[in-house]
């Protein structure tokens, strides 16, 4: 079986592009394909990742300009047709700005950038991205962001919860949701959410930085395996 082509979008200020490219390449059955932001086609990819970084500098608001780029028009259409799209960190911000996911990512409540190893709880395995995890499993992905404070109105949050669309939550070492374990003030400690059909996942933590025990965690592999299987 030929490998499944997975697009890795490069905006000029994307800086996790190589990390994501390597993560896709390390996923059995997947083959990474670069997608430049000025492109107007998708090169036949069957899944797409929006990697972390600062897309267009993000001096205005993270992801606010990226959503208007030529490639994003294609990505939006791809997602609307049911294709799997994974947005990590800045990628999540862009997906929210583009309206593919509800809510918004605001400045961290402590007003500073935060980088640390973060325990997360897998709260839904309904999305293909988390199909290989156990419900309630604790995983560790690094976080590194200044604008990761997830906000949405209560009605939206309730809807996400009941539909099993809250995929990852920030927790402490023992798997508990606490204010101290919430690194950025996100509503209900939400770290990642999925679209209604589960095929679009946005999360602030970096599964792409959790692909090897040499750097502390390989828990991110499951997310990329899920992407590959959804794209296959």
């Amino acid at each position: 079986m030929s490998p499944v082509p997975i697009g890795v979008v490069r905006f000029p200020g994307t800086n996790c592009d190589q990390d994501v490219f390597d993560a896709v390449a390390a996923t059995a059955g997947a083959q990474p394909v670069w997608l430049w932001h000025k492109e107007t086609g998708l090169r036949g990819v069957r899944g797409i990742v929006l990697a972390g970084g600062f897309s267009y500098g993000d001096y205005l608001r993270a992801g606010a300009i990226a959503r208007f780029s030529p490639i994003m028009e294609r990505v939006i259409a791809f997602a609307k047709s049911g294709g799997p799209v994974l947005g990590i960190c800045n990628g999540f911000q862009i997906l929210a700005e583009a309206g593919l996911l509800p809510g918004a990512l605001m400045r961290n409540d402590r007003l500073t950038f935060v980088c640390r190893d973060q325990p997360l709880r897998v709260d839904s395995v309904r999305s293909p991205f988390t199909a290989s995890f156990r419900p309630g499993e604790i995983v560790r992905f690094p976080i590194a962001h200044g604008e990761g404070n997830y906000v949405a109105d209560d009605e939206t949050l309730d809807r996400l919860e009941t539909a099993g669309r809250v995929v990852f939550r920030y927790v402490d070492e023992d798997g508990r949701v606490t204010a101290a374990a919430n690194p950025n003030g996100s509503a209900r400690s939400i770290a990642g959410i999925a679209s209604e059909n589960g095929m679009v996942l946005g999360l602030m933590p970096h599964p792409d930085r959790a692909m090897s025990l040499l750097v502390g965690s390989e828990d991110g592999r499951g997310v990329f395996r899920g992407l590959m299987e959804a794209a296959a």
């Binding site: 000029p12 600062f54 993000d58 980088c115």
Partner: protein, 749 residues
């Protein structure tokens, strides 16, 4: 205005305002064979400044060892480079941005990071890590907190945006830096040997381009000491002298430059950093033994009405000077366009070794390249040891005064001193995991450890310096900065390869400062020779003085070490019953140490003696124990001695574990053993099953050592007969010391 500035007559007052001495001016006239015009005078004042020309320091810097089989590129380029095997080389350099950070901490620190990144990627290396060595005054001072908060944010915002992990560094707080913080940034890059690019303007006829940001009036006062009235009296508005950083443009420039170098379209590339177009163009010509001709009218401007003087002296950020192959213009332009960067042809390499500046074809400067680069005056003088040294040494408190210090209270004071306390508040603001090669990041070990992709090996990185030691004993202080870095690198199992130095001192025209500088450089040279760690790049920062006086002389060393097999690193595992082993002698030296400074508020005594042979041997012993899996944790004994080292080792162990130290028998006062900062010492955790073997191994080396305690299950840290404390209690003091001070809401702005 433009005409008036250009035609400003060169009077003795104007010469003095440019920071040039009358004899230096006479030399300029002699070199030119005529009087310089106003623009040429400005150019000389920059190129002959200490910042660009190293006129006070160069004579002594030549004493530093810079050669070795591992050296791929020594001093004289944008950065140095060392071989790390597998066809790879590591390119690195450290640089200061102290004065800009004192004036405008956020932009000052950010542009410091930007500048050192460019020094590394102009060599064709992709930056893979940053380290930042920062020094501030006392954190109880709100202005110091303001500087600290904004410097950290500036460092973080810039590096985070460009996508280079900040993996380590140091932060020190001491009154001597209150009015003049130190911001030293080190960048480390990686390349294949064949991709190394040098900053040379080779090949007469080759076109010269400016790639990147347009040129504005920012930073015109940056590198030299121009009196501000000279430039601003006619200006419609005054501009801050600190440059403004744009990390997004830097990221574009990084990618475009690396693509350009890989394409083979470039002959030479240099960052337009300090002294901007002037230094980059003249230095590239000097290295190529060529001339260069540039028409400033072609340089893209950010604002109208700029004179040649301003264009030449601007320090606008994120710009590169590129010498290209003549037939490669299309390739160059395609790369610039891909990254949406302006790229403009501004001149040509010439065969005549003249630095020639035109404006719309009219000549405005014509200076022999050698006059700007090679003929910089050099000042070397012999000075006597300043009197303050004897006074400081004599101030050492006697045994009775030391014995009166309550040791347990002192341990708490030391662990909550910001210099020693946990720096999590700082490094959580730095992205240290991007690029996914950080094996040991900040706070994890004495040095950072980075995977080299596609190989079995890893590199270790550390920065070190101790201004108090250097103030009390300049020569020892220089050497101690090097050996401390070597100990830190050895603690993750790596062998020192080479160093970069960032030499922060006061005004070198003062004899005391000059003495400190010369002696510290000698100390660095001796230590680097003994440890086979040549100095491949560096930076001198003089004039670090505020109205309160000069800073403590602070040579900062950035070291790169190599671990050939990444699996031969300390595993950090421990269990109750494991042994705690001291490699090196028992402590006794309290002079110039943290016990005196943090507990008594005293800067007194001599710095610890330096035994370079012991440093070399003990580091080898520690590395071999780590390599063979016989030491699971290694930590060097430095600030605060054995007591602080034991606590820090304990804080890194799984929760619930403690450490019980045994103090050497027969001492009347435990202070020397607990707090002594004697050199060449390490604290190791040895698995219980390995203890017999480690005993035999250490006995065979002839080096001093003893079992200094054991890992316990009781969650306490015991200091022999002195007493014990709950680990969690001490850990909280250490972890929260900086955060508590910085969470002061009144400061937040």
């Amino acid at each position: 205005m433009t005409v008036a500035m250009r035609d400003t007559p060169v009077t003795p007052d104007v010469v003095a305002a440019h920071g040039l001495r009358p004899d230096e001016y006479d030399r300029i006239v002699e070199l030119l064979g005529r009087e310089p015009n106003f623009t040429e005078l400005g150019v000389f004042s920059l190129m002959w400044s200490e910042h660009c020309g190293y006129k006070y320091s160069r004579a002594w810097l030549s004493e530093l060892p810079s050669r070795g089989p591992q050296v791929v590129q020594g001093p004289g380029e944008n950065a140095g480079a060392v071989d790390v095997g597998d066809g790879l080389a590591v390119v690195f350099k450290m640089e200061s941005h102290n004065h800009p950070s004192a004036v405008e901490p956020y932009q000052g620190a950010a542009t410091g990071v930007g500048g050192i990144l460019r020094d590394v990627f102009t060599m064709g290396a992709r930056p893979i890590a940053m380290l930042d060595s920062l020094r501030f005054g006392n954190l109880d001072d709100p202005h110091v907190r303001y500087l600290f908060r904004h410097v950290v944010r500036g460092v973080g915002d810039y590096g985070n945006c460009v996508g280079v992990p900040t993996v380590g560094g140091e932060v020190v707080f001491d009154d001597s830096y209150a009015g003049n913080p130190l911001v030293n940034a080190m960048c480390v890059g990686l390349l294949r040997h064949e991709d190394l690019m040098r900053a040379t303007a080779a090949g007469p006829g080759n076109p010269v381009y400016v790639l990147g940001a347009s040129t504005g009036r920012d930073g015109i006062h940056g590198a030299s000491k121009l009196a501000s009235t000279e430039l601003s009296e006619d200006s419609a508005e005054s501009r801050p002298t600190v440059q403004i950083g744009d990390p997004f443009t830097e990221k574009l420039l990084l990618e475009a430059t690396l693509e350009l170098i890989a394409s083979g379209a470039a002959v030479g590339v240099q960052d337009m950093g300090a002294a901007g177009l002037t230094s980059s163009s003249s230095e590239m010509a000097a290295r190529g033994r060529t001339g260069i001709e540039i028409d400033v009218a072609r340089v893209p401007r950010r604002e109208p009405g700029m004179t040649p003087y301003e264009v030449l002296l601007s320090e606008s950020q994120e710009r590169m000077l590129v010498v290209a192959r003549p037939d490669q213009e299309t390739a160059l332009m395609a790369i610039a366009e891909k990254w949406d960067l302006p790229c403009t042809r501004v001149g040509v390499v010439t065969p005549d070794q003249e630095w020639r500046i035109l404006e719309d074809g009219d000549e405005v400067c014509r200076i022999p390249v050698a006059a700007l680069v090679d003929e910089v005056p050099r000042y070397a003088r012999e000075v006597d040891a300043p009197q303050y040294l004897a006074e400081v040494h004599a101030r050492m408190p006697g045994p009775a005064a030391v014995a009166a210090i309550d040791p347990l209270a002192a341990i708490e004071t030391l662990l909550s001193a910001p210099t020693i306390a946990c720096k999590r508040w700082v490094w959580e603001q730095y992205d240290h995991t991007v690029q996914t090669h950080t094996m040991l990041g900040p706070g994890r070990a004495d040095a950072a450890l980075l995977l080299l992709p596609g190989t079995r090996s890893a590199i270790a990185l550390a920065t070190d310096g101790n201004g108090r030691y250097t103030y009390c004993d300049p020569r020892r202080g220089g050497a101690l900065a090097v050996v401390e870095a070597a100990r830190n690198v050895s603690c993750v199992g790596a062998r020192p390869l080479a160093v970069t130095d960032c030499l922060n001192f006061g005004n070198p025209e003062k004899d005391a400062v000059y003495f400190q500088f010369v002696e510290a450089v000698r100390g660095i040279a001796e230590a680097c020779r003994a440890l086979d760690a040549p100095v491949v790049s560096g930076n001198v920062s003089f004039y670090n003085e505020s109205p309160a006086g000069a800073i403590h002389p602070t040579p900062t060393i950035g070291m790169v070490g190599l671990l050939e097999d990444r699996d031969e690193r300390p595993r950090g595992e421990a269990a109750g019953g494991d042994a705690v082993v001291l490699v090196g002698a028992n402590g006794s030296h309290l002079g110039a140490g943290c016990l005196l400074s943090e507990v008594l508020g005293l800067v007194a005594g001599r710095a610890p003696d330096v035994d370079l042979e012991a440093e070399r041997r003990h580091a080898e012993i520690v590395r071999s124990l780590i390599r063979e899996g016989l030491a699971s944790v290694a930590h060097d004994i430095g600030d605060g001695g054995l007591a602080v080292a034991a606590a820090e080792v304990c804080f890194g162990l799984p929760s619930g574990l403690g450490i019980a130290l045994d103090l050497p028998a027969g001492d009347d006062s435990p202070h020397g053993a607990l707090f002594g900062e004697d050199g060449a010492r390490y604290l190791l955790v040895v698995p219980a099953v390995s203890l017999v073997e480690v005993r035999e191994r250490l006995a065979a080396t002839g080096a001093p050592w003893r079992q200094a305690g054991r890992v316990t299950d009781d969650g306490r840290i015991g200091f022999g007969a002195v007493g014990s404390r709950e680990r969690n209690e001490l850990q909280r003091l250490w972890e929260e010391a900086i955060e508590t001070r910085m969470e002061n809401l009144e400061d937040q702005r």
